[in-house]
Protein backbone atom coordinates (compact mmCIF):
# COMPACT_ATOMS: atom_id res chain seq x y z
CA UNK A 1 0.00 0.00 0.00
CA UNK A 2 1.14 3.55 -0.59
CA UNK A 3 1.46 6.06 2.20
CA UNK A 4 2.10 9.75 2.71
CA UNK A 5 5.32 10.44 4.56
CA UNK A 6 4.00 13.86 5.61
CA UNK A 7 2.33 14.13 8.99
CA UNK A 8 -0.98 15.54 10.14
CA UNK A 9 0.34 19.11 10.51
CA UNK A 10 1.45 19.20 6.88
CA UNK A 11 -2.09 18.49 5.69
CA UNK A 12 -3.65 20.79 8.27
CA UNK A 13 -1.47 23.71 7.18
CA UNK A 14 -2.00 23.21 3.49
CA UNK A 15 -5.46 21.76 3.11
CA UNK A 16 -7.80 22.61 5.98
CA UNK A 17 -10.64 24.77 4.65
CA UNK A 18 -10.58 28.27 6.15
CA UNK A 19 -13.84 30.13 6.61
CA UNK A 20 -12.35 33.42 5.42
CA UNK A 21 -10.93 31.88 2.24
CA UNK A 22 -13.61 30.24 0.05
CA UNK A 23 -10.97 29.03 -2.38
CA UNK A 24 -9.84 26.55 0.27
CA UNK A 25 -13.33 25.02 0.33
CA UNK A 26 -13.20 23.86 -3.26
CA UNK A 27 -11.07 20.75 -2.78
CA UNK A 28 -13.69 19.18 -0.58
CA UNK A 29 -16.87 20.44 -2.19
CA UNK A 30 -15.93 18.90 -5.49
CA UNK A 31 -17.01 15.38 -6.32
CA UNK A 32 -14.16 14.96 -8.74
CA UNK A 33 -11.79 12.43 -7.20
CA UNK A 34 -9.11 12.94 -9.89
CA UNK A 35 -9.15 16.71 -9.47
CA UNK A 36 -8.67 16.31 -5.72
CA UNK A 37 -5.78 13.88 -6.20
CA UNK A 38 -4.13 16.25 -8.72
CA UNK A 39 -4.43 19.16 -6.28
CA UNK A 40 -2.97 17.16 -3.41
CA UNK A 41 -0.19 15.64 -5.50
CA UNK A 42 0.89 19.12 -6.50
CA UNK A 43 1.26 20.36 -2.89
CA UNK A 44 4.77 21.60 -2.20
CA UNK A 45 6.67 19.05 -0.14
CA UNK A 46 4.17 16.19 -0.53
CA UNK A 47 5.91 12.85 -0.31
CA UNK A 48 4.47 9.41 -1.10
CA UNK A 49 6.14 6.05 -0.59
CA UNK A 50 5.24 2.43 -1.47
CA UNK A 51 3.22 0.59 -4.10
CA UNK A 52 -0.44 -0.25 -4.44
CA UNK A 53 -0.60 -4.02 -4.98
CA UNK A 54 -3.23 -5.50 -7.28
CA UNK A 55 -4.90 -7.44 -4.44
CA UNK A 56 -5.09 -4.24 -2.40
CA UNK A 57 -6.74 -2.38 -5.26
CA UNK A 58 -9.20 -5.25 -5.71
CA UNK A 59 -10.23 -5.03 -2.06
CA UNK A 60 -10.63 -1.25 -2.21
CA UNK A 61 -12.88 -1.55 -5.26
CA UNK A 62 -14.88 -4.27 -3.50
CA UNK A 63 -15.41 -1.93 -0.53
CA UNK A 64 -16.65 0.80 -2.87
CA UNK A 65 -18.96 -1.59 -4.65
CA UNK A 66 -20.34 -2.94 -1.32
CA UNK A 67 -21.06 0.64 -0.21
CA UNK A 68 -22.89 1.31 -3.49
CA UNK A 69 -25.04 -1.77 -2.90
CA UNK A 70 -25.73 -0.68 0.68
CA UNK A 71 -26.90 2.72 -0.54
CA UNK A 72 -29.27 1.04 -3.01
CA UNK A 73 -30.73 -1.39 -0.46
CA UNK A 74 -31.24 1.33 2.16
CA UNK A 75 -31.86 4.30 -0.09
CA UNK A 76 -34.37 5.87 2.29
CA UNK A 77 -32.08 5.58 5.30
CA UNK A 78 -29.93 8.49 6.46
CA UNK A 79 -26.21 7.81 5.82
CA UNK A 80 -25.30 8.20 9.52
CA UNK A 81 -27.73 5.37 10.33
CA UNK A 82 -25.60 3.06 8.20
CA UNK A 83 -22.39 3.49 10.19
CA UNK A 84 -22.44 -0.03 11.63
CA UNK A 85 -23.02 -1.51 8.16
CA UNK A 86 -20.08 0.54 6.88
CA UNK A 87 -17.91 -0.73 9.73
CA UNK A 88 -18.70 -4.31 8.69
CA UNK A 89 -17.90 -3.56 5.04
CA UNK A 90 -14.54 -1.94 5.76
CA UNK A 91 -13.46 -4.44 8.41
CA UNK A 92 -14.54 -7.59 6.58
CA UNK A 93 -12.77 -6.57 3.38
CA UNK A 94 -9.58 -5.14 4.87
CA UNK A 95 -9.17 -8.23 7.06
CA UNK A 96 -8.72 -10.18 3.81
CA UNK A 97 -5.46 -8.27 3.45
CA UNK A 98 -4.55 -9.59 6.92
CA UNK A 99 -4.48 -6.11 8.36
CA UNK A 100 -4.33 -5.97 12.14
CA UNK A 101 -3.97 -3.30 14.78
CA UNK A 102 -0.35 -2.73 13.81
CA UNK A 103 -1.61 -1.38 10.48
CA UNK A 104 -4.17 0.82 12.22
CA UNK A 105 -1.26 2.91 13.46
CA UNK A 106 0.01 3.68 9.93
CA UNK A 107 -1.83 6.96 9.62
CA UNK A 108 0.02 8.02 6.44
CA UNK A 109 -1.26 4.89 4.73
CA UNK A 110 -4.88 5.42 5.84
CA UNK A 111 -4.73 9.03 4.72
CA UNK A 112 -3.46 8.05 1.29
CA UNK A 113 -6.15 5.38 0.98
CA UNK A 114 -8.85 7.79 2.08
CA UNK A 115 -7.88 10.73 -0.13
CA UNK A 116 -7.25 8.61 -3.20
CA UNK A 117 -10.40 6.47 -3.13
CA UNK A 118 -13.13 7.66 -0.80
CA UNK A 119 -14.08 11.23 -1.69
CA UNK A 120 -17.56 10.18 -2.91
CA UNK A 121 -18.22 8.22 0.27
CA UNK A 122 -16.93 10.96 2.60
CA UNK A 123 -19.06 13.54 0.81
CA UNK A 124 -22.17 11.35 0.92
CA UNK A 125 -21.77 10.43 4.60
CA UNK A 126 -20.56 13.70 6.11
CA UNK A 127 -21.12 16.64 3.75
CA UNK A 128 -24.02 16.24 1.33
CA UNK A 129 -26.63 17.42 3.78
CA UNK A 130 -24.84 20.74 4.48
CA UNK A 131 -24.00 21.15 0.79
CA UNK A 132 -27.67 20.84 -0.16
CA UNK A 133 -28.49 23.46 2.47
CA UNK A 134 -25.87 25.70 0.80
CA UNK A 135 -23.67 25.60 3.91
CA UNK A 136 -20.61 25.29 1.73
CA UNK A 137 -17.94 25.96 4.35
CA UNK A 138 -19.43 23.47 6.81
CA UNK A 139 -19.82 20.89 4.07
CA UNK A 140 -16.22 21.32 2.95
CA UNK A 141 -14.90 21.23 6.52
CA UNK A 142 -16.69 17.96 7.41
CA UNK A 143 -15.46 16.32 4.23
CA UNK A 144 -11.88 17.43 5.01
CA UNK A 145 -12.14 16.30 8.64
CA UNK A 146 -13.11 12.76 7.64
CA UNK A 147 -11.30 12.35 4.35
CA UNK A 148 -7.93 13.80 5.36
CA UNK A 149 -8.50 13.45 9.07
CA UNK A 150 -8.63 16.49 11.31
CA UNK A 151 -7.39 13.93 13.83
CA UNK A 152 -5.57 10.81 12.71
CA UNK A 153 -8.11 8.40 14.11
CA UNK A 154 -10.95 10.11 12.28
CA UNK A 155 -9.74 9.27 8.78
CA UNK A 156 -12.77 7.64 7.17
CA UNK A 157 -11.57 4.09 6.37
CA UNK A 158 -9.59 3.86 9.63
CA UNK A 159 -12.58 5.09 11.63
CA UNK A 160 -14.76 2.27 10.32
CA UNK A 161 -11.99 -0.35 10.48
CA UNK A 162 -11.40 0.52 14.16
CA UNK A 163 -15.08 0.08 15.02
CA UNK A 164 -14.86 -3.33 13.37
CA UNK A 165 -11.75 -4.22 15.41
CA UNK A 166 -13.56 -3.31 18.62
CA UNK A 167 -16.72 -5.31 17.96
CA UNK A 168 -15.70 -8.24 15.74
CA UNK A 169 -15.34 -11.50 17.65
CA UNK A 170 -13.28 -14.52 16.63
CA UNK A 171 -16.05 -16.87 17.85
CA UNK A 172 -19.20 -14.95 17.02
CA UNK A 173 -17.95 -13.12 13.93
CA UNK A 174 -19.96 -10.02 13.03
CA UNK A 175 -23.13 -10.97 14.92
CA UNK A 176 -22.88 -8.10 17.45
CA UNK A 177 -22.15 -5.59 14.70
CA UNK A 178 -25.02 -6.93 12.60
CA UNK A 179 -27.46 -6.58 15.49
CA UNK A 180 -26.23 -3.04 16.15
CA UNK A 181 -26.51 -2.23 12.43
CA UNK A 182 -30.12 -3.37 12.41
CA UNK A 183 -30.99 -1.32 15.51
CA UNK A 184 -29.10 1.69 14.16
CA UNK A 185 -31.10 1.62 10.93
CA UNK A 186 -34.48 1.28 12.60
CA UNK A 187 -34.07 3.81 15.43
CA UNK A 188 -34.17 7.47 14.56
CA UNK A 189 -32.69 8.30 17.95
CA UNK A 190 -30.04 6.51 19.96
CA UNK A 191 -26.46 7.04 20.95
CA UNK A 192 -24.76 5.26 18.07
CA UNK A 193 -22.81 8.40 17.19
CA UNK A 194 -21.28 8.69 20.64
CA UNK A 195 -20.69 4.95 20.78
CA UNK A 196 -18.60 5.17 17.62
CA UNK A 197 -16.76 8.25 18.88
CA UNK A 198 -15.82 6.47 22.08
CA UNK A 199 -14.85 3.24 20.35
CA UNK A 200 -12.36 5.32 18.37
CA UNK A 201 -11.24 7.96 20.83
CA UNK A 202 -10.89 6.08 24.12
CA UNK A 203 -8.30 3.45 24.99
CA UNK A 204 -10.58 0.87 26.65
CA UNK A 205 -7.80 -1.69 27.04
CA UNK A 206 -9.62 -4.93 27.75
CA UNK A 207 -9.29 -8.63 26.98
CA UNK A 208 -11.05 -9.51 23.73
CA UNK A 209 -12.55 -6.00 23.71
CA UNK A 210 -14.78 -7.01 26.59
CA UNK A 211 -15.58 -3.40 27.56
CA UNK A 212 -16.47 -2.21 24.06
CA UNK A 213 -18.67 -5.24 23.41
CA UNK A 214 -20.39 -5.27 26.80
CA UNK A 215 -21.17 -1.56 26.76
CA UNK A 216 -22.45 -1.62 23.17
CA UNK A 217 -24.71 -4.52 24.00
CA UNK A 218 -26.16 -3.07 27.20
CA UNK A 219 -26.54 0.48 25.94
CA UNK A 220 -27.90 -0.13 22.47
CA UNK A 221 -29.29 -3.63 22.14
CA UNK A 222 -31.51 -3.93 25.21
CA UNK A 223 -35.13 -2.95 25.72
CA UNK A 224 -33.99 0.60 26.32
CA UNK A 225 -31.81 2.30 23.76
CA UNK A 226 -29.29 4.68 25.29
CA UNK A 227 -29.38 8.27 24.11
CA UNK A 228 -26.25 10.07 22.95
CA UNK A 229 -25.86 11.62 26.43
CA UNK A 230 -26.39 8.32 28.21
CA UNK A 231 -23.79 6.63 26.04
CA UNK A 232 -21.29 9.46 26.57
CA UNK A 233 -21.91 9.40 30.34
CA UNK A 234 -21.42 5.64 30.50
CA UNK A 235 -17.98 5.91 28.90
CA UNK A 236 -17.08 8.81 31.22
CA UNK A 237 -18.16 6.69 34.18
CA UNK A 238 -16.09 3.72 33.00
CA UNK A 239 -13.00 5.86 32.49
CA UNK A 240 -13.54 7.47 35.89
CA UNK A 241 -13.08 4.20 37.75
CA UNK A 242 -9.31 4.42 37.85
CA UNK A 243 -8.96 2.39 41.05
CA UNK A 244 -10.98 -0.59 39.92
CA UNK A 245 -9.95 -3.17 37.36
CA UNK A 246 -13.22 -3.19 35.49
CA UNK A 247 -11.85 -4.15 32.08
CA UNK A 248 -13.02 -7.74 32.54
CA UNK A 249 -15.91 -7.03 34.90
CA UNK A 250 -19.16 -8.92 34.70
CA UNK A 251 -22.15 -7.67 32.73
CA UNK A 252 -23.96 -7.12 36.04
CA UNK A 253 -21.35 -4.58 37.17
CA UNK A 254 -21.64 -2.74 33.88
CA UNK A 255 -25.45 -2.72 34.14
CA UNK A 256 -25.52 -1.55 37.75
CA UNK A 257 -22.64 0.89 37.87
CA UNK A 258 -21.69 2.08 34.41
CA UNK A 259 -24.36 1.84 31.74
CA UNK A 260 -27.07 3.76 33.56
CA UNK A 261 -30.21 5.07 31.93
CA UNK A 262 -31.80 8.24 33.20
CA UNK A 263 -35.29 7.83 34.59
CA UNK A 264 -37.72 9.86 32.54
CA UNK A 265 -40.53 11.52 34.45
CA UNK A 266 -44.01 10.38 33.42
CA UNK A 267 -45.82 13.20 31.68
Amino acid sequence: MKKYLNGLDFFKNQLAPKREDPLTWNNFNTRDQNKLIDNIDSLQGISVQGELLSEEKEIILKIKSDIKDLKIVFQDTRPDRLDMDLAIIFHKNLKKLKWGRYHAEEFGMWRWLSINFFLTEAFWRWSEDDFNKKKFFESSRSCYQRLVGERNRRILPLWYFSIGERLYDTHFGYSLLEKLAEKCREKAAGGFGNLNNNLNDTKLLSPNEHVAKTMSKILLLGDKIGSNDEVADAFKRYNGFSRRLLNYGSEVIFEKEICLFSIKKAS
Binding site: G100, L205, P207, R243, L245, N247, I253
Partner: protein, 326 residues
Protein backbone atom coordinates in the same frame (compact mmCIF):
# COMPACT_ATOMS: atom_id res chain seq x y z
CA UNK B 1 -27.71 26.80 42.37
CA UNK B 2 -25.06 26.14 44.97
CA UNK B 3 -22.34 23.59 44.60
CA UNK B 4 -21.26 21.32 47.42
CA UNK B 5 -18.00 19.42 47.29
CA UNK B 6 -18.17 16.13 49.12
CA UNK B 7 -14.66 14.82 49.81
CA UNK B 8 -14.33 11.07 49.35
CA UNK B 9 -11.41 9.57 51.21
CA UNK B 10 -9.37 7.16 49.10
CA UNK B 11 -9.19 3.67 50.50
CA UNK B 12 -5.93 2.25 51.75
CA UNK B 13 -3.75 0.35 49.29
CA UNK B 14 -0.41 -1.38 49.63
CA UNK B 15 1.42 -1.47 46.31
CA UNK B 16 4.17 -3.69 44.98
CA UNK B 17 3.47 -6.75 47.10
CA UNK B 18 3.98 -9.21 44.29
CA UNK B 19 7.05 -9.05 42.10
CA UNK B 20 6.54 -9.88 38.42
CA UNK B 21 9.44 -11.43 36.50
CA UNK B 22 9.37 -12.42 32.88
CA UNK B 23 11.20 -14.24 30.12
CA UNK B 24 10.68 -13.92 26.38
CA UNK B 25 10.58 -16.78 23.89
CA UNK B 26 10.02 -16.90 20.16
CA UNK B 27 8.02 -19.72 18.63
CA UNK B 28 10.03 -22.40 16.84
CA UNK B 29 13.30 -20.92 18.03
CA UNK B 30 15.51 -21.83 20.89
CA UNK B 31 15.79 -18.29 22.19
CA UNK B 32 15.15 -17.21 25.74
CA UNK B 33 15.68 -13.67 27.01
CA UNK B 34 15.12 -12.57 30.58
CA UNK B 35 13.60 -9.17 31.37
CA UNK B 36 16.32 -7.45 33.44
CA UNK B 37 16.02 -6.24 37.02
CA UNK B 38 15.22 -2.67 35.90
CA UNK B 39 11.98 -4.16 34.49
CA UNK B 40 12.52 -2.87 30.93
CA UNK B 41 13.72 -4.96 28.01
CA UNK B 42 14.58 -3.41 24.67
CA UNK B 43 13.98 -6.27 22.24
CA UNK B 44 14.35 -4.15 19.13
CA UNK B 45 17.54 -5.34 17.42
CA UNK B 46 18.43 -7.20 20.62
CA UNK B 47 21.85 -8.76 20.23
CA UNK B 48 22.32 -12.35 21.35
CA UNK B 49 25.67 -13.64 22.65
CA UNK B 50 26.64 -14.92 19.21
CA UNK B 51 26.01 -11.38 17.83
CA UNK B 52 22.84 -12.50 16.04
CA UNK B 53 20.21 -9.80 16.19
CA UNK B 54 16.58 -10.36 17.11
CA UNK B 55 14.00 -8.46 15.09
CA UNK B 56 10.69 -9.10 16.86
CA UNK B 57 8.65 -8.09 13.82
CA UNK B 58 10.09 -11.01 11.86
CA UNK B 59 8.24 -13.40 14.19
CA UNK B 60 4.51 -14.09 14.26
CA UNK B 61 4.31 -14.56 17.99
CA UNK B 62 6.19 -13.41 21.04
CA UNK B 63 5.75 -15.70 24.00
CA UNK B 64 6.05 -14.18 27.45
CA UNK B 65 6.34 -16.45 30.47
CA UNK B 66 5.74 -14.73 33.76
CA UNK B 67 6.57 -15.84 37.27
CA UNK B 68 5.35 -14.22 40.46
CA UNK B 69 6.85 -13.93 43.92
CA UNK B 70 5.74 -12.30 47.13
CA UNK B 71 7.82 -9.40 48.33
CA UNK B 72 10.50 -10.57 50.75
CA UNK B 73 9.30 -11.03 54.32
CA UNK B 74 5.72 -10.27 53.34
CA UNK B 75 2.99 -12.33 54.97
CA UNK B 76 -0.27 -13.04 53.23
CA UNK B 77 -2.14 -12.46 56.47
CA UNK B 78 -1.00 -8.80 56.47
CA UNK B 79 -3.47 -8.20 53.66
CA UNK B 80 -6.23 -8.56 56.22
CA UNK B 81 -5.42 -4.97 57.27
CA UNK B 82 -6.72 -3.79 53.91
CA UNK B 83 -10.02 -5.65 54.24
CA UNK B 84 -13.10 -5.27 56.42
CA UNK B 85 -12.82 -7.19 59.66
CA UNK B 86 -13.50 -10.89 59.41
CA UNK B 87 -12.70 -11.27 55.72
CA UNK B 88 -10.11 -13.83 54.67
CA UNK B 89 -7.66 -12.45 52.04
CA UNK B 90 -7.29 -15.78 50.25
CA UNK B 91 -11.04 -16.04 49.79
CA UNK B 92 -11.81 -12.45 48.90
CA UNK B 93 -8.78 -11.41 46.87
CA UNK B 94 -7.06 -12.66 43.75
CA UNK B 95 -4.19 -11.57 41.52
CA UNK B 96 -5.02 -10.56 37.94
CA UNK B 97 -2.32 -10.54 35.33
CA UNK B 98 -2.46 -9.15 31.78
CA UNK B 99 -0.28 -7.91 28.93
CA UNK B 100 -1.30 -4.92 26.88
CA UNK B 101 -0.18 -2.45 24.27
CA UNK B 102 -1.44 1.11 24.71
CA UNK B 103 -0.44 2.13 21.22
CA UNK B 104 -2.72 -0.35 19.45
CA UNK B 105 -5.13 -0.81 22.37
CA UNK B 106 -4.65 -4.56 22.36
CA UNK B 107 -5.01 -6.51 25.58
CA UNK B 108 -4.29 -10.15 26.27
CA UNK B 109 -6.57 -12.50 28.13
CA UNK B 110 -6.62 -11.76 31.85
CA UNK B 111 -5.33 -14.51 34.14
CA UNK B 112 -6.98 -14.79 37.52
CA UNK B 113 -4.64 -16.37 40.04
CA UNK B 114 -5.45 -17.40 43.60
CA UNK B 115 -3.19 -15.71 46.10
CA UNK B 116 -2.45 -19.00 47.83
CA UNK B 117 -0.97 -20.43 44.63
CA UNK B 118 1.53 -17.65 44.05
CA UNK B 119 5.10 -18.91 44.17
CA UNK B 120 8.21 -18.64 42.05
CA UNK B 121 7.72 -22.08 40.48
CA UNK B 122 4.46 -21.42 38.61
CA UNK B 123 4.70 -19.91 35.14
CA UNK B 124 1.96 -18.01 33.34
CA UNK B 125 2.26 -17.89 29.61
CA UNK B 126 1.01 -15.26 27.14
CA UNK B 127 1.17 -15.50 23.36
CA UNK B 128 1.38 -12.07 21.78
CA UNK B 129 0.42 -11.83 18.08
CA UNK B 130 2.92 -9.38 16.61
CA UNK B 131 0.39 -7.87 14.16
CA UNK B 132 -1.73 -6.67 17.06
CA UNK B 133 0.95 -4.72 18.91
CA UNK B 134 3.43 -1.91 18.33
CA UNK B 135 6.26 -0.15 20.18
CA UNK B 136 5.86 -1.19 23.84
CA UNK B 137 4.23 -4.13 25.61
CA UNK B 138 3.34 -3.83 29.28
CA UNK B 139 2.93 -6.70 31.72
CA UNK B 140 0.68 -5.61 34.56
CA UNK B 141 -0.58 -7.26 37.71
CA UNK B 142 -3.09 -6.24 40.38
CA UNK B 143 -4.49 -7.70 43.58
CA UNK B 144 -8.21 -7.06 43.42
CA UNK B 145 -11.32 -7.82 45.45
CA UNK B 146 -13.49 -10.44 43.82
CA UNK B 147 -16.67 -9.66 45.78
CA UNK B 148 -18.45 -6.69 47.31
CA UNK B 149 -18.06 -6.43 51.07
CA UNK B 150 -21.08 -6.39 53.31
CA UNK B 151 -21.77 -3.07 55.03
CA UNK B 152 -20.02 0.28 54.69
CA UNK B 153 -16.30 0.51 55.45
CA UNK B 154 -14.67 3.95 55.31
CA UNK B 155 -11.08 3.95 54.01
CA UNK B 156 -11.26 0.27 53.07
CA UNK B 157 -11.87 -1.06 49.60
CA UNK B 158 -15.21 -2.79 49.54
CA UNK B 159 -16.31 -2.92 45.90
CA UNK B 160 -15.86 -5.78 43.48
CA UNK B 161 -12.69 -5.40 41.40
CA UNK B 162 -11.29 -2.59 43.57
CA UNK B 163 -7.52 -2.63 43.18
CA UNK B 164 -5.85 -2.99 46.55
CA UNK B 165 -2.31 -3.51 45.28
CA UNK B 166 -0.60 -2.71 41.99
CA UNK B 167 2.62 -4.49 41.10
CA UNK B 168 5.45 -2.71 39.32
CA UNK B 169 4.89 -3.38 35.63
CA UNK B 170 7.40 -4.82 33.17
CA UNK B 171 7.84 -3.24 29.75
CA UNK B 172 9.19 -4.67 26.51
CA UNK B 173 10.14 -2.48 23.57
CA UNK B 174 9.56 -4.33 20.31
CA UNK B 175 9.95 -1.60 17.67
CA UNK B 176 12.23 1.32 17.03
CA UNK B 177 10.73 4.36 18.75
CA UNK B 178 10.83 7.50 16.68
CA UNK B 179 11.35 9.87 19.55
CA UNK B 180 13.20 12.76 17.98
CA UNK B 181 10.81 14.68 15.80
CA UNK B 182 8.27 11.98 16.34
CA UNK B 183 6.35 11.34 19.46
CA UNK B 184 8.08 13.54 22.00
CA UNK B 185 9.97 16.52 20.65
CA UNK B 186 8.34 18.85 18.15
CA UNK B 187 10.69 19.45 15.24
CA UNK B 188 10.05 20.99 11.86
CA UNK B 189 11.38 23.33 9.18
CA UNK B 190 11.41 27.07 9.80
CA UNK B 191 13.17 30.36 9.07
CA UNK B 192 16.34 30.02 11.12
CA UNK B 193 18.42 32.66 9.29
CA UNK B 194 22.08 31.66 9.31
CA UNK B 195 21.48 28.88 11.80
CA UNK B 196 21.03 25.22 10.92
CA UNK B 197 18.96 24.57 14.07
CA UNK B 198 17.13 26.84 16.45
CA UNK B 199 15.09 26.06 19.56
CA UNK B 200 12.27 28.52 20.17
CA UNK B 201 9.91 28.93 23.11
CA UNK B 202 12.48 28.17 25.81
CA UNK B 203 11.02 30.86 28.06
CA UNK B 204 7.43 29.65 27.75
CA UNK B 205 6.66 27.63 30.91
CA UNK B 206 3.54 25.95 29.51
CA UNK B 207 4.27 24.74 25.98
CA UNK B 208 7.08 22.50 24.83
CA UNK B 209 9.83 24.42 23.02
CA UNK B 210 10.07 23.64 19.32
CA UNK B 211 13.16 22.70 17.35
CA UNK B 212 13.37 24.33 13.94
CA UNK B 213 15.77 23.37 11.20
CA UNK B 214 16.57 25.59 8.25
CA UNK B 215 14.14 25.39 5.31
CA UNK B 216 17.24 24.98 3.13
CA UNK B 217 17.98 21.68 4.86
CA UNK B 218 14.43 20.36 4.66
CA UNK B 219 14.90 18.24 1.54
CA UNK B 220 17.77 16.38 3.26
CA UNK B 221 16.52 16.15 6.84
CA UNK B 222 13.17 14.68 5.86
CA UNK B 223 14.90 11.67 4.29
CA UNK B 224 15.83 8.68 6.37
CA UNK B 225 18.24 7.06 3.90
CA UNK B 226 21.18 9.47 4.24
CA UNK B 227 23.92 8.41 6.64
CA UNK B 228 25.17 11.99 7.02
CA UNK B 229 21.68 13.03 8.14
CA UNK B 230 21.50 10.17 10.61
CA UNK B 231 24.92 10.98 12.06
CA UNK B 232 24.18 14.71 12.41
CA UNK B 233 20.88 13.97 14.16
CA UNK B 234 22.62 11.48 16.44
CA UNK B 235 25.22 14.01 17.51
CA UNK B 236 22.69 16.83 17.93
CA UNK B 237 20.61 14.59 20.15
CA UNK B 238 22.78 15.20 23.21
CA UNK B 239 22.33 18.96 23.10
CA UNK B 240 18.63 18.89 22.17
CA UNK B 241 17.71 16.53 24.96
CA UNK B 242 19.86 18.27 27.54
CA UNK B 243 18.25 21.61 26.59
CA UNK B 244 14.79 20.10 26.97
CA UNK B 245 15.81 18.67 30.33
CA UNK B 246 16.89 22.16 31.48
CA UNK B 247 13.58 23.58 30.25
CA UNK B 248 11.59 20.87 32.00
CA UNK B 249 13.32 21.35 35.33
CA UNK B 250 13.95 25.07 35.50
CA UNK B 251 11.25 26.68 33.33
CA UNK B 252 8.29 24.36 32.92
CA UNK B 253 5.19 24.87 35.09
CA UNK B 254 4.36 21.23 35.23
CA UNK B 255 0.80 20.13 34.46
CA UNK B 256 0.38 16.42 35.02
CA UNK B 257 -2.73 16.38 32.85
CA UNK B 258 -0.73 17.72 29.91
CA UNK B 259 0.18 14.78 27.67
CA UNK B 260 3.23 16.60 26.25
CA UNK B 261 4.64 17.26 29.71
CA UNK B 262 3.99 13.64 30.65
CA UNK B 263 5.61 12.30 27.48
CA UNK B 264 8.72 14.36 28.15
CA UNK B 265 8.93 13.12 31.74
CA UNK B 266 8.51 9.53 30.46
CA UNK B 267 11.33 10.10 27.99
CA UNK B 268 13.75 11.39 30.64
CA UNK B 269 12.65 8.72 33.09
CA UNK B 270 13.67 6.13 30.50
CA UNK B 271 16.93 7.73 29.40
CA UNK B 272 18.04 8.73 32.90
CA UNK B 273 16.81 5.43 34.41
CA UNK B 274 15.10 7.48 37.11
CA UNK B 275 11.51 7.01 38.38
CA UNK B 276 9.01 9.54 37.04
CA UNK B 277 8.05 10.53 40.58
CA UNK B 278 11.64 11.62 41.32
CA UNK B 279 11.73 13.81 38.22
CA UNK B 280 8.37 15.40 39.09
CA UNK B 281 9.64 16.01 42.62
CA UNK B 282 12.74 17.73 41.24
CA UNK B 283 10.67 19.97 38.92
CA UNK B 284 8.58 21.08 41.88
CA UNK B 285 11.56 22.11 44.02
CA UNK B 286 12.62 25.78 44.36
CA UNK B 287 13.52 27.03 40.89
CA UNK B 288 17.31 27.23 40.48
CA UNK B 289 17.69 26.33 44.16
CA UNK B 290 20.70 24.27 45.23
CA UNK B 291 18.78 21.00 45.39
CA UNK B 292 17.20 21.51 41.97
CA UNK B 293 20.47 22.53 40.32
CA UNK B 294 22.31 19.57 41.84
CA UNK B 295 19.47 17.27 40.75
CA UNK B 296 19.70 18.60 37.20
CA UNK B 297 23.46 17.97 37.01
CA UNK B 298 22.98 14.39 38.18
CA UNK B 299 20.21 13.77 35.65
CA UNK B 300 22.22 15.42 32.89
CA UNK B 301 25.11 13.03 33.55
CA UNK B 302 22.76 10.05 33.52
CA UNK B 303 21.21 11.34 30.30
CA UNK B 304 24.58 11.39 28.57
CA UNK B 305 25.10 7.68 29.17
CA UNK B 306 21.39 6.77 28.93
CA UNK B 307 21.01 8.16 25.40
CA UNK B 308 23.98 6.09 24.29
CA UNK B 309 22.84 2.86 25.89
CA UNK B 310 19.12 3.06 25.05
CA UNK B 311 19.76 4.02 21.42
CA UNK B 312 22.63 1.54 20.97
CA UNK B 313 24.65 4.58 20.02
CA UNK B 314 28.00 2.85 19.61
CA UNK B 315 26.55 0.27 17.25
CA UNK B 316 24.70 2.89 15.18
CA UNK B 317 27.88 4.93 14.78
CA UNK B 318 29.79 1.83 13.77
CA UNK B 319 27.22 1.08 11.07
CA UNK B 320 27.45 4.65 9.75
CA UNK B 321 31.27 4.61 9.72
CA UNK B 322 31.37 1.21 8.04
CA UNK B 323 28.91 2.29 5.33
CA UNK B 324 31.22 5.17 4.43
CA UNK B 325 34.22 2.87 4.05
CA UNK B 326 32.25 0.72 1.57
Amino acid sequence: MSEIIIPIEPYVTYNDLIKISGRIFFNNQDIEIAIPENRHLNLYNYELNDSIQIIPRNHNLIIIKVSLAWKKDFQLSSLANLLPEGENPTEVLSFRLQVNCEKTRWCSEQKKIELSSINKMSLYSFEIPIDEVKNILRIQGFIVREFDAKGIHPNISDSTLAIISTSKELSIQIDELKEIGGEYLPIGPGNTGDLAFEISGLDNPFELPKIFYSEELKEFLTRDDLTSVNSSILTSLFYFLDRYLKWLIFTCRIDLNNKYHNSLIDLFSKYCVTPKEEIIDLIQKDKYGEAQTKGYIELSDKLFTGIQLQNKYKRELKIIYKSEIK
